[in-house]
């Protein structure tokens, strides 16, 4: 018996099942219409938590990958440490964090999400940095760029495709992972799914939450892909 979600998750207002058809349809516009405000607020929370987690992870990951890029002996330990963090199941991480930081805020979910996004971002931005051709680096040094100037003007821009790839992977998996936060009632659209399950298996609520989660992941993925194209106009010219 799992008591937790009934105890901690807020009970969303339920719409009556549709007038015609079977009592518990997989999808019902009536449900969507009657619960629009709940759906929107869950979606907003989901987007906000994802954005906070990915941005925080990016702020940590890029300096880490630059550090690993400059000081090669650090590459192994940095990747190994984030690999171990990545192996720890999200539920376990949440279980270790929640008692420490409390379940009244979503801080524990946020920390867990940042840690998971970290490995993907570090690995991809490091790959982006290391694939900068040696001739380009030499040319930049010959033009008088210092270490930071070269990083800022040459190496990071050239690493953008790698960073964007990491950002897309991290965002998509973070959107899916936020749902695990419903363990403490902070799962955004995941709360809808779980509450629907506990409210006598209310299929419309479960499926609406699922569709919104998957759609959100795909939309954010497309947006980031577009952002990547905008930031790297030179890659398009080269291919066309």
């Amino acid at each position: 018996m799992s008591f937790l979600s009934r105890a901690t998750a807020p009970v969303w207002p339920l719409a009556a099942p549709g007038d015609n058809g079977p009592g518990n349809p997989w999808f019902s516009w009536r449900y969507v219409h009657d619960n629009a405000s709940t759906l929107v607020s869950a979606l907003q929370y989901h987007v906000g938590l994802t954005a906070r987690a990915v941005i925080l992870a990016l702020i940590v990951a890029v300096p880490l990958s630059v550090l690993a890029y400059w000081i090669r002996p650090l590459t192994g330990p940095i990747l190994a440490l984030s690999g171990v963090l990545y192996t720890i199941p999200s539920l376990a991480l949440l279980a270790l964090l929640a008692p420490l930081v409390g379940t009244t805020t979503d801080t524990s979910v946020l920390i867990a999400l940042v840690l998971y996004a970290l490995l993907v971002l570090v690995r991809n931005s490091l790959a982006g940095l290391t694939q900068v051709p040696a001739e380009v680096r030499d040319a930049a040094a010959g033009m008088g760029y210092g270490r930071f100037g070269r990083l800022w003007r040459i190496e990071l821009p050239l690493a953008i495709p790698g960073i964007i790839t990491g950002l897309r992977l991290a965002t998509v998996s973070t959107v899916a992972l936020v749902t695990v936060g419903s363990l403490i009632g902070k799962g955004g659209l995941g709360d809808l799914i779980l509450v629907g399950f506990h409210n006598n298996f209310y299929k419309a609520e479960i499926l609406t939450g699922t569709i919104l989660t998957v759609a959100l992941a795909l939309v954010l993925d497309l947006l980031l892909a577009g952002l990547g194209r905008l930031l790297t106009p030179w890659t398009r010219e080269r291919t066309s």
């Binding site: 008591f3 999200s90 539920l91 376990a92 279980a95 420490l100 795909l218």
Partner: protein, 238 residues
């Protein structure tokens, strides 16, 4: 309040291991669910990946499938499947977990067959091997390191994700954690939550280490330098 101390106390109580629904019961359920999920994943993922790799097409489809499953929340599948004709209990949990085991197995099997030197293929064909013989005697043996890497990724992921089965009362070690939250943080549940977290994390790391050893054992020596762990479709879904 030192939660980790409470966790240690909880984990050191033998009754918490041997009680009905205790750690040993849950560990057994966890391993049982994970085993079947990985097995189903292998039965589905390997033949398709090997066949696509043998034919040399469908690479785009493999990547698409891997990326799509990244976007599906585990929680959604775990809650939806029991409401289908599969019914409640272990089968829907096994199916849900195997959905996430297929992409790494499939992608690694495909890559494993595609990375074989075309010249090796040519000489095998020149020696008169038929398609089936080439697959059995040349391609699959050369792809074993990749198959093992896929198995490792998939198994670790399934063991990690199986903890989420507790959301739908599917059993497994996650139940320890969720029951702890049910008791409440301030009522002494914190120790149980921390203990559950430690055990689940330890199990995932243990499986990862054991399969890393297995992967090394099945990789022939000359291939060890080339082979490295593929990060394809490794989802932190659990």
């Amino acid at each position: 309040m030192n939660y980790f101390h409470q966790g240690l106390v909880w984990i050191n109580d033998p009754l918490n291991w041997t009680n009905p629904g205790g750690l040993l019961d849950r560990l057994g359920e966890h391993l049982e669910i994970s085993f079947w999920a990985v097995l189903v994943g292998c039965v589905v993922g390997w033949p398709i990946g090997i066949w696509l790799g043998h034919r040399g097409r469908g690479g785009g489809g493999v990547v698409t499938v891997a990326n799509l499953t990244l976007a599906i929340p585990t929680l959604a599948l775990l809650t939806i499947l029991p409401l289908t004709p599969l019914g409640f209990g272990k089968p829907p949990v096994v199916v849900a977990l195997s959905v996430f085991a297929v992409p790494p197995l499939l992608a690694n099997a495909y890559t494993g067959l595609r990375q074989i030197d075309p010249e090796t293929r040519e000489s095998a064909r020149g020696m008169g091997l038929s398609g089936g013989q080439m697959l059995r005697q040349v391609e699959i043996p050369l792809a074993v390191p990749y198959l093992a890497a896929g198995l490792r990724t998939a198994a670790v992921q399934v063991v990690a994700t199986a903890a989420l089965a507790a959301f739908v009362n599917g059993g497994g070690l996650g139940e320890i954690i969720s029951a702890g939250f049910g008791i409440g943080l301030s009522n002494g549940g914190a120790g149980q939550i921390v203990a559950g977290g430690v055990v689940v994390a330890a199990l995932a790391l243990l499986v990862e280490a054991a399969l890393a050893v297995l992967q090394r054992l099945v990789t022939p020596k000359p291939l060890r330098a080339v082979q490295r762990r593929r990060a394809t479709a490794a989802v932190p879904a659990g």
